[in-house]
């Protein structure tokens, strides 16, 4: 082998660099790998978001694309925040959010607690319980409409059978008092398994020796439950509530299929109301401002909540 500058350089080059020269550098690979994803996110998420912000300051209507567009400043925002109907939608959403989370946490935690007793076949039953939450909310919601039929529906029949009332004497979807509860029932049926699964993970993460130590200290079972089980599961439970909160704030498919927002606007959650403004009344500018308000609300509430969650985790 002759002693040329090239071979000397080759010998002096550290292995790491040699490796990089053979292929692309790590840095180039990193950007090639991440690039397409970033591009797609920019195209499908960011660009539309910026466009929505821009539209929210205009009186644009998507069904009249050729009409001249005027910038109206903050007028859309002003009108939304002072509109009493929108506050009614917000209340309907709050009712839905509060009660679905309440029931899902209550039933979900109880189920997880029971499953954690490790009875025979608990895996099989857990899998069965989980099924509803993986299904298409629109298709399932549509079928629940059938179950809720006053004369022929199974739900009314069962309630009538248990309570002795006439099955056609109440309409779950048609009555102003019952409709908000009908959507709570279906959502709870569907999503309780979600809370259950997360609680179960929490319960299983508690090491046995803590209970053994408590037993040695002669702490009662009830005391163990409140001083060990609950605090240890709390971060998991809070995470479940965060997910359910965000999802149900966005709730659209299930409820639109069940009630379509009715009767009147008693179950018109903000997402359904937004759809009406944007795709039925075609007030695109107004709806864009509405969308931004909703986004900021979710984002703000979620950020505050995550801070609280992190505090609980640190304890």
């Amino acid at each position: 082998m002759t002693d040329t500058p090239a071979t000397r350089a080759a010998q002096a080059t550290p292995v790491g660099v040699a490796r990089k020269i053979k292929g692309l550098s790590d840095r180039a690979i990193a950007w090639i790998f991440v690039g397409p994803t970033i591009f797609l996110l920019l195209a499908i998420n960011i660009f539309p978001l910026i466009w929505t912000i821009n539209l929210s300051f205009t009186n644009f209507r998507a069904n009249r694309p050729n009409r001249e567009v005027d910038y109206v400043g903050l007028r859309n925002y002003e009108r939304i925040l002072t509109d009493s109907d929108i506050w009614l939608n917000m209340q309907a959403t709050a009712h839905f959010l509060f009660w679905t989370i309440f029931f899902q946490v209550l039933i979900g935690f109880t189920l997880a607690y029971l499953i954690n007793k490790k009875f025979k076949g608990n895996d099989l039953w857990t899998t069965i319980i989980v099924l509803p939450m993986m299904l298409s909310p629109a298709v399932v919601g549509n079928f629940w409409k059938f179950l809720y039929q006053p004369q022929i529906g199974l739900f009314n029949y069962v309630v009538a059978f248990l309570s002795g009332k006439d099955p056609s004497s109440f309409e779950m979807l048609g009555s102003v008092q019952l409709a908000p509860w009908s959507i709570v029932i279906v959502d709870t049926w569907m999503w309780t398994p979600f809370v259950m699964l997360i609680c179960l993970a929490g319960l299983r993460s508690i090491p046995d020796y803590i209970y053994e130590a408590a037993e040695v200290d002669r702490a009662s079972k009830l005391r163990q439950f409140f001083t060990i089980t609950i605090p240890m599961v709390l971060p998991f439970l809070m995470l479940a509530v965060l997910f359910r909160g965000i999802e149900n704030f966005k709730m659209f498919d299930l409820v639109v299929q069940l009630t379509g927002g009715g009767p009147g606007s008693t179950t018109e959650l903000t997402s359904i109301n937004l759809k009406r403004e944007a795709f039925e009344k075609w007030r695109t500018g107004y709806a864009s401002a509405y969308a931004i308000i909703l986004f900021v609300t979710v984002f703000g509430l979620a950020s505050i909540y995550v801070k609280a969650l992190n505090k609980v985790k640190e304890r």
Binding site: R19, G23, D26, R27, I29, A30, W31, F33, P36, T37, L40, A43, I44, N45, F47, P48, W51, T52, L55, A62, L114, K117, F119, W125, T126, T127, I128, V130, L131, P132, M133, M134, L135, P137, V139, V140, N142, F143, W144, F146, L147, Q149, I152, W189, T192, L197, I198, D208, Y211, F236, L239, I246, D253, Q257, S271, K275, A278, F279, A291, F295
Partner: protein, 312 residues
């Protein structure tokens, strides 16, 4: 664990817990069982009072789901005897089958869009997840959080500009448009989940491969990918289920050629109102694959639904 462990629940409490859980499971299954039963009922049985649990099963709902029918005169019916078993079912109502319904097409659209977007999400997601897991990327944490936060937007809010954008680009009601949209929504989930799975693969394997003369890309392809196969498969099923179930974008952005099954099934209408057995038949065919996937996925379920925040 010793059988005297104080943390092991007593036999009686196990029995009690088991009974309660099984009762809940059975109650929660009733609506799903009812969907499947109704699919095999005749329209009269489906709306009878009291609701029938025992009935004579018929495939009428399934025939109605896949066909369109027309009513014919007695002479026409007498002159054309039924050819097949499904002709005979329809004859009971003095009707003949006029042709296939749109359900097959809509179902196929769900398959194309579901698999297309899943493939794309997994392809791009695996690359990005590997990069986030192994390389120093400036602002990686912010980028990851940002990717996640895009899921907080209500779908209707995203649909407004997408609707306008697609109208401009000619992507409205096309398979490509829906595949790109679902990929855009799914990729955040895919990157988060896959990053978690790849983080768990020890660095040593790749380092050994690199020392053996593999390039970075070969190491990724021949060492990391096989190790991550289970994670990739379960992430793919999650992406598929999301795209399969999605309704809001589908109902707003598709109306014909690219319409998927979820917006279509509720519009199945029979003679004189909704044809519940046909709706139930459609729902059964549509929901069954997801049930099977859920059972396959059960070990990774928790991780998928919490964006990898909870790992068992």
């Amino acid at each position: 664990m010793s059988s005297f462990s104080v943390t092991e629940p007593s036999k009686r409490s196990k029995w009690f817990a088991g009974t309660l859980v099984i009762v809940y499971a059975l109650i929660t299954m009733v609506p799903l069982a009812w969907i499947m039963l109704t699919g095999f009922k005749s329209p009269a049985d489906a709306i009878s009072y009291p609701p029938k649990v025992l009935f004579e099963p018929t495939l009428e709902g399934y025939v109605n789901l896949f066909t369109t029918r027309t009513r014919q005169t007695d002479e026409f019916l007498a002159a054309n005897p039924p050819q097949t078993w499904y002709d005979e079912i329809v004859r009971e109502y003095d009707m003949v089958i006029a042709g296939p319904s749109k359900f097959g097409e809509r179902f196929l659209n769900s398959v194309i869009i579901g698999f297309g977007s899943t493939f794309l999400s997994i392809f791009l997601g695996t690359l990005a997840a590997y990069a986030f897991s192994r390389f120093k990327i400036p602002l990686a944490d912010d980028l990851l959080f940002f990717i996640l936060s895009t899921r907080m937007m209500p779908p209707i809010a995203v649909a407004i500009p997408i609707f306008l954008m697609y109208r401009q680009l000619g992507l409205s009601d096309t398979h490509l448009g829906m595949i790109l949209l679902y990929t855009g929504v799914n990729i955040s989930l895919a990157v988060w989940l896959l990053k978690g799975f790849i983080d768990e693969i020890p660095l040593e394997y790749e380092e050994a491969a690199l020392i053996d003369g593999y390039t970075r890309f070969q190491a990724f392809y021949k060492v990391v990918l096989p190790q991550a196969a289970t994670g990739i498969a379960s992430t793919a099923i999650f992406c598929l289920i999301f795209a399969w179930n999605e309704y809001a974008f589908a109902v707003l952005l598709t109306s014909g050629t690219a319409q998927t099954a979820p917006p279509f099934i509720p519009t199945i209408i029979g003679v004189g109102g909704l044809d519940w057995p046909a709706v139930a038949a459609g729902a059964t065919i549509f929901l069954l694959p997801v049930m099977i996937f859920t059972i396959l996925l059960r070990k990774h379920l928790l991780r998928g639904i919490t964006f990898g925040a909870v790992r068992k």
